[in-house]
């Protein structure tokens, strides 16, 4: 049984794939560093106000999320229909998160 099969098209050009692999490894290293930074930030500045701690942690998490979604899930070069599906998802997700935040703002106003 041969295990090597030729799959020819521009997307599967070996040089193109090898460049992609280098990017994947770079993203992996970045994610590892950012994970270390997330934990370190919390322990190096233990007396940081919770508001700032949340902002820093979420900023690092958002950066990591961008790397995973953009490069591993190829969202930086995806088709318009996928963007449309995700745009609708973002709207509903934002509403879900806005609900409790609106409630908090309402309580603080009273």
């Amino acid at each position: 049984m041969t295990e090597h099969v030729e799959i020819h098209d521009a997307h599967n050009d070996p040089e193109h794939i090898k460049r992609e692999v280098r990017v994947y490894l770079l993203v992996f290293c970045s994610l590892a560093v950012l994970t270390g930074a997330t934990v370190a930030a919390r322990y190096v500045f233990p007396d940081l106000r919770m508001g700032y701690a949340i902002a820093i942690a979420l900023a690092i998490a958002a950066t990591k999320g961008f790397l995973v979604a953009g490069f591993f899930m190829h969202l930086l070069s995806e088709k318009k229909l996928i963007y449309a599906v995700l745009a609708l998802t973002v709207v509903f997700f934002a509403f879900l998160i806005w609900l409790p935040l609106h409630d908090i703002a309402d309580k603080m106003g009273k």
């Binding site: 992996f28 994970t35 879900l96 998160i97």
Partner: protein
């Protein structure tokens, strides 16, 4: 119609040909399974989004102590950060091994593709093992879902996430064994299947990326 009847007679059963599982469908620009998994992931965003929304409500709604501080426990003082940090690295590693498996399959190398799928599966086992250890530490401290709203949402979110990891592991185990037979007849379709399960796996990683700081560190 005649050819379909012949096919049924030849094989003894109906064979339904699913269109656009290798080439992109002209009107969507993607193959069907890829659109399908993105729609599924959109629903998953709402599932975990509802839980994150609940977490915000529970946290901000927690009573204030006489000293003016919130009664909501601080994750880093309550949970076990070290095993969770190790698990974060394990999931990140598994995310890169999935794309490396996919890249090798696109290069036509099934052997390397399977090696990377196996490493991904191994990472899944390590993640679940560490998660079980972490839960056992919580139970030793008599921390159960009924102990406090914090533990209720912690066990719900990490438990649901763990079930997603388990689901991914089952699919990877299938593609590592019986499912890889497709490579002999339809290598491009098999490669697409790995891409699709990879998208799901990255999403599971993505959820953990946000779960980790919000539950364990803040």
């Amino acid at each position: 119609m005649t050819s379909h009847a012949d096919a049924v007679a030849d094989h003894g059963h109906h064979e339904i040909e699913i269109p656009f599982n290798v080439t992109p469908r002209p009107d969507t620009g993607v193959y069907n399974a890829k659109l399908g998994v993105w729609l599924f992931l959109a629903s998953e965003v709402m599932l975990f989004g509802a839980l994150f929304s609940s977490l915000i409500l529970l946290r901000t709604g927690a009573p204030t102590l006489p000293n003016g501080l919130s009664s909501w426990p601080v994750g880093k003082d309550t949970l076990h950060v070290l095993p969770a940090t190790v698990n974060t690295f394990v999931l990140i590693l598994s995310s890169v091994t999935v794309v490396l498996a996919w890249a090798n399959l696109r290069l036509g190398d099934l052997k390397m593709g399977r090696i990377f799928i196996a490493i991904t599966l191994l990472c899944g086992f390590i993640f679940m093992g560490i998660k079980a250890y972490e839960y056992s530490l919580s139970f030793e401290h008599h921390h159960y879902p009924s102990t406090h709203n914090f533990f209720a949402i912690y066990f719900t979110m990490t438990g649901l996430h763990g079930l997603h990891v388990l689901g991914g592991m089952i699919v990877f185990a299938y593609f590592l064994t019986f499912g890889s037979k497709m490579w002999k007849t339809e290598p491009a379709r098999f490669t697409n299947r790995i891409e699709v399960v990879g998208l799901y796996w990255h999403f599971v990683d993505l959820v953990w990326i946000f779960l980790f700081p919000t539950l364990y560190l803040l």
